[in-house]
Every structure is written in structure tokens, then in C-alpha cells.
């Protein structure tokens, strides 16, 4: 049973390695760039899947949390501490919280360590998600949708209208995020392969954490809330508390993705906070089958990758909209829904059993 549980994750890890080796062998490593970006977006989508699919709470404003991560790290790591003479900047340098890197003009600059900005971003996101989550999660249905959408729009407008955040231009020339042992999150083509792995490891870690969560006391409580909030509450589940917890958790996932992708891209712009982005995340969770981390992951990678590679040119959004409609009309539970997979599995089992009597039942 333990094996059954970990086999898909191991399979995914193997697929990641094989894909990387294949691109390198075929001299097509540039594919990895968009795949790296898609992996970070998938991190947002996974968090949102737990919130929407398992806890049953829609959020049409998750791009805002992503943007909070991205902009926090962008603003903080762009502050020049080279000439820090006194006060807080000096203290930051003295505490060893700063690093140096070479900027676009070949000048060495001392700035805040991205590790610090990551922590600040996560703390900020946690606080904001917590504070708005308390009143917002009391709302239901379309009202919850509107409130989260509204939150997203407010953040978008703030980003777009504030000079600190670069207004419509966003912030660029953001330094690399040096992790450890020569690993750095950056858009440098030399570091393409390692960045692909950094994103993949982060995504896998996120996936494993969430899979653990779903199949646990807390995860069952969440699924119970989605199934019948009244019954869950009667069983002693603090439904409001759990909803809030998962809202914050999914916000943090989005924030972390925002921090990493911003360093990878070397910039961040208001489009990351756009309503359309939030809607895209929600849509991918839905077409992935709502309460289905694997489905969301698969759809997230495929759709983001195709879109980022620009496969459909100017028809990109048209295709995306079309996919949404088609999947909702013909596979309302998502393409990779439990039922569709069961049918597939059933067909496979029949195929095996057709050969030699009773097949092995994987049930624990």
C-alpha cells in the first residue's frame, strides 16, 4: 500500500528526469524554460485545488497572492544596500542578511538576500490571507466568488497604480536567488537545466505535502466540509477554522510560486495579478477535476506549457476558452476525474483479466 501511494510520485520524478535528458540529448533544452514556468504556475494551481476541490471554497483572486510574492521579493531585493551607511539597511548588512550580485550593467550591487524576502513575502501573504479570509470565508456561492474576485482586482489596481511597483511596466532586472551550493534561481540560459530541477523539486515537494494532507485527519476533515458542512461540524470539525487554514495555505503556495518565478524571470509585471490569471487558475482546477491533485497538475502543466510556448499563436486564448467549454460540457467532472480514470482502469483490468482469470486487486 505504501508503494501504491508513492509509485505515482516516483513515476512523475522519473518522467521529469527522462524529459530533461531527452531535451538535452536532442538539443532542445529551450523547452525546459517554459516547463519551468509552467511548474511554478502549477504550484499555485495545486494549492488552489485543495482549497476549491477539497475544501469547496472558490477563490477567484489567487493571482493576487502570487503577485504579493513576486512583488515583495522584487521590491526588497532591488533595494540597493551598497551605500548603506546606517540605520536599518546597515543592520541588515551587518546581520549577514544581504548578498551581492552583478546587475544588468555589470556593476556589483549589495542587496537583501532573497531568502529574507521569501520569508517576508510568506509572512505578508499569511497575514493578509488570514485577515481577509476571516470575513470572506463567511460568504457563500457567487458572493464568495465576487469577494475573492474583488480582492484580486484591488491588488491588481494597487500594483498597476503605484510607482513603487513600477505601474504598468512592472519591475525588471531582479537579481538571481542563490539557494546553496551554486544553485541559483535565475533566467540565465546556462542555468536552464538546474532551474528546471529546482522548479520540479519544489513542485514535487508541494505535491507530496498536499497528497499527505488530503489523506490524513485534516484532509478528511476538509473533504467532509465539502461533502456536508453541517455533518462535519457535528463530528467536532472546526469548519470555519479549517477553511481559513486552507485558504492561508493555498495563498502561501501561490506566494512561494510568485517569489521563485519572479527570480527565474528576472522580472514581474501587473499581468501576474490580472483577473484573467486568477480565472485561468480556477479554470484549470475545474478542468483537472476539482478534487483531483493529479488532474490539476496534468492540466496545469499541459495548458500552461502550450500557452507559454505560444503553440496557438493569436488563437491561444480562443483555444483555452474552447477547452474550458468542451471539458465542462462533456466531462463536467474534469478530464481526469475519478470516474473517467475508473472506467479507464476498469477497461485495463478487463484487458488483463481477459487473458488469465482473476487479476490482482490492488485494494489494500
Amino acid at each position: 500500500m505504501r508503494f501504491m501511494k508513492h509509485a505515482p510520485v516516483a513515476g512523475l520524478a522519473a518522467a521529469i528526469v527522462i524529459f530533461q535528458l531527452a531535451t538535452t540529448l536532442l538539443g532542445r533544452e529551450f523547452y525546459l524554460t517554459q516547463l519551468t514556468m509552467a511548474a511554478y504556475y502549477c504550484l499555485v494551481i495545486l494549492g488552489l485545488t485543495v482549497l476549491m476541490g477539497y475544501a469547496g471554497q472558490i477563490s477567484m483572486g489567487h493571482a493576487a497572492f502570487f503577485a504579493m510574492g513576486g512583488y515583495t521579493t522584487a521590491v526588497l531585493t532591488k533595494l540597493d544596500l551598497s551605500a548603506a551607511a546606517g540605520g536599518l539597511p546597515r543592520l541588515v548588512v551587518d546581520l549577514g542578511l544581504s548578498v551581492t550580485s552583478v546587475n544588468a550593467f555589470g556593476v556589483e550591487v549589495r542587496h537583501l538576500s532573497p531568502w529574507v524576502s521569501l520569508v517576508v513575502a510568506v509572512l505578508l501573504t499569511t497575514t493578509v490571507a488570514f485577515l481577509i479570509g476571516i470575513p470572506i470565508l463567511r460568504l457563500k456561492g457567487h458572493y464568495l466568488a465576487m469577494a475573492t474576485l474583488g480582492f484580486g482586482i484591488i491588488v491588481y489596481r494597487i500594483v498597476l497604480g503605484t510607482s513603487l511597483f513600477g505601474e504598468a511596466d512592472g519591475i525588471s532586472d531582479i537579481p538571481a536567488f542563490t539557494l546553496a551550493g551554486g544553485l541559483a534561481v535565475s533566467g540565465d540560459p546556462e542555468l536552464r537545466v538546474q532551474n528546471f530541477y529546482i522548479a520540479a523539486v519544489l513542485l514535487l515537494a508541494g505535491l507530496v505535502l498536499l497528497l499527505n494532507l488530503i489523506d490524513s485527519r485534516s484532509g478528511r476533515a476538509l473533504r467532509a466540509i465539502h461533502g456536508s458542512e453541517e455533518a462535519a461540524n457535528a463530528m467536532g470539525v472546526d469548519t470555519a477554522g479549517f477553511k481559513l487554514m486552507v485558504f492561508v495555505l493555498s495563498a502561501v503556495f501561490a506566494c512561494v510560486a510568485g517569489v521563485f518565478l519572479t527570480h527565474f524571470n528576472g522580472g514581474v509585471g501587473p499581468s501576474e495579478a490580472d483577473v484573467m490569471k486568477s480565472v485561468t487558475y480556477v479554470a484549470i482546477v475545474a478542468v483537472g477535476g476539482m478534487a483531483n491533485l493529479w488532474g490539476a497538475l496534468a492540466m496545469g502543466i499541459v495548458l500552461n506549457y502550450l500557452s507559454l510556448r505560444g503553440y496557438f499563436g493569436s488563437y491561444d486564448e480562443l483555444v483555452f476558452g474552447g477547452i474550458l467549454i468542451v471539458i465542462m460540457l462533456f466531462f463536467p467532472e474534469g478530464l481526469l476525474s475519478a470516474r473517467n480514470l475508473k472506467n479507464l482502469k476498469g477497461a485495463a483490468v478487463r484487458l488483463v483479466r481477459g487473458k488469465g482469470g482473476e487479476g490482482a486487486d490492488g485494494r489494500p
Partner: protein
């Protein structure tokens, strides 16, 4: 602030507010018969405007607008026939995703049919330089057209829902779909009518605002978001609420630009909406049950 300025702000608030109210009413009509928030509502305005602009090159303006309204209504009916009807046991989220998908598809088709150029209908009367003076405030005659058309739409809908058989049947569907079905009302047809009606008034509003705000393939989404904000603020499904909500939002926006940078204008209405929802989770005039019903 001078009196003229205040008047100017009020007029601009009322104008925008009435547009928002029309969009919100469009949301409500469909919501009441189906429980769906049609996120493609803004696209109806865009389609109306764009179609009329194209037709106006060949036929007189009133005819172009009429044809645009009819064509958009037919598109509304098609949306129901081709998509909405095919949703089997839809959850609210499924419906939201489908209408978001529709909104994207309509917008992108519009981009390829027309292009990304900003267009506009000619002023219904006069031109951009003509203005009417009301108590010292100068406004474009088109603003009066917008207000007039909004008022006509509201009065017409009030009449339609109160006195016509179709309108009353639609209200019956809104109150209780199953009961309406049992009373022999063709609920499927009512859903189609609601989409046509919604599309038609959207198109008319889209034509009316085109000379002022101009029309572009992607002008629908911001309007839909405003309309959704207003619909929720007033209480979903409540058309009086939509008018009240529209005016509140319109006024707030108009006056906010005298205090805050223009860039934050769009955030004002929403901030107020959130604050109101936190205190009254069902909107200004919404019923408590409506907010609880139709969950995800």
C-alpha cells in the same frame, strides 16, 4: 469644489451608474431563471456595439442599432441552445467556467472578426463638441441618450415582468423552477428568453455607450466585472437593488477621482462592496436565503 463641479460629478456618476445597473440587470435576468452568473454578459455589450458600428457603414444609424440588438439577441439564444442546455446536472462552478469560457471565446472571435482597433458609433445627436448646459454643468447630449435608454430599459422590464405572460412565467421560474414546471410553464423556453432578453438589453446599452466610452473587442470584461459588483452589491437577482447598487458605485467612482489617483478608481467600488459584504453577506437589498443558496 464648486456647485458646477459637484453637478458634473453627479451627472457622470449617474451616467456610469446607469450603465452598470443595466449590466447588473442583465446578470439578474439570467440568474433568476437559471441560477447562472453569465460572465459573458459584458461580451453582449461589446457585440452590440461592434455589430452596430459595422452596420452603420451601410445603413442608417437607428436601423444599424436595431439590427445589432436583434443579432445579439439571436447570439444569446444560440448560447443557450448550443451550450447551456447541454450542461447536465451542472454545478454552479461548472456553469461559471462555461460562461467564462464563452466570454473568452466570444472576445477572441471578435478580435479575429474585427481587430484590436478602438471604434465607436457616431453620436446619436450632435457630435463630440456639442454640449448641453444643465444648471451650469456641461454634458454631452449622448449622456442624455444613455440615461434615457437606461430608463426605458428599466421601465420596459418592469412592465414586461409584471404584465406579460412570458414575463410572469419567467418570474415563476425564478421563484421556484420545479413548481413552474409543474404549472405547465415551458421552463426551457424561459431560459432561452432570458438569454435573449439579457443579450438584447446588453447590446442596446453597448450601442448607447459606444460614442462615449468607445468599443473594442475586449471592452466587455471590465464592464462585466462592474456589473457583477453592482449585482452583488444590490443583492443578486434583485433589479431594484441593481439600480441602487449602480448609482452607489457610479457616484463613488465619480467622486473618488477628486480625492484619490485615477489609477485606483476601479478599486474603490470593490473595496466598498467588500466592506458591505463583510457586514451584510447578502448585499444591500439581497435576501439572506439567496446568498446561502446555490452553493458551489
Amino acid at each position: 469644489m464648486s456647485l458646477e463641479q459637484v453637478l458634473q460629478y453627479i451627472l457622470s456618476g449617474v451616467t456610469n451608474g446607469s450603465i452598470y445597473a443595466i449590466v447588473a440587470i442583465g446578470f439578474n435576468i439570467i440568474y433568476n431563471t437559471t441560477g447562472i452568473i453569465n460572465f459573458a454578459q459584458g461580451e453582449f455589450l461589446m457585440l452590440g456595439g461592434m455589430t452596430a458600428i459595422s452596420l452603420a457603414a451601410f445603413v442608417p444609424l437607428p436601423l444599424a442599432i436595431l439590427a445589432a440588438v436583434v443579432i445579439t439577441a439571436i447570439i444569446g439564444a444560440l448560447v443557450d441552445f448550443v451550450f447551456i442546455r447541454r450542461l447536465k446536472t451542472p454545478s454552479v462552478l461548472n456553469m461559471i467556467i462555461v460562461t467564462i469560457g464563452l466570454s473568452i471565446v466570444i472576445r477572441e472571435i471578435a478580435l479575429h472578426v474585427w481587430d484590436e482597433k478602438v471604434r465607436s458609433l457616431p453620436y446619436f445627436t450632435g457630435s463630440e463638441v456639442t454640449s448641453v448646459s444643465i444648471l451650469g454643468a456641461y454634458i454631452s447630449p449622448q449622456v442624455l441618450w444613455v440615461l434615457g435608454i437606461a430608463a426605458v430599459i428599466v421601465v420596459f422590464l418592469g412592465f414586461f415582468f409584471k404584465f406579460t405572460l412570458t414575463g410572469r412565467s419567467m418570474r415563476a421560474c425564478a421563484a421556484n423552477m420545479t413548481a413552474a414546471k409543474l404549472c405547465g410553464i415551458n421552463t426551457g423556453a424561459m431560459v432561452t428568453v432570458s438569454f435573449m432578453l439579457s443579450a438584447a438589453i446588453g447590446a442596446l446599452a453597448g450601442c448607447a455607450i459606444s460614442p462615449i466610452t468607445q468599443t473594442q473587442y475586449d471592452c466587455g470584461t471590465p464592464l462585466a466585472i462592474k456589473g457583477f459588483t453592482v449585482a452583488i452589491l444590490g443583492g443578486l437577482g434583485n433589479s431594484t437593488g441593481a439600480v441602487v447598487g449602480g448609482m452607489v458605485v457610479g457616484m463613488l467612482e465619480a467622486f473618488s477621482i477628486s480625492v484619490l489617483p485615477l489609477a485606483y478608481k476601479d478599486a474603490i467600488a470593490i473595496t466598498i462592496l467588500l466592506l458591505i459584504l463583510f457586514v451584510k453577506p447578502s448585499g444591500l437589498l439581497g435576501k439572506k436565503e439567496a446568498a446561502g443558496l446555490k452553493e458551489f
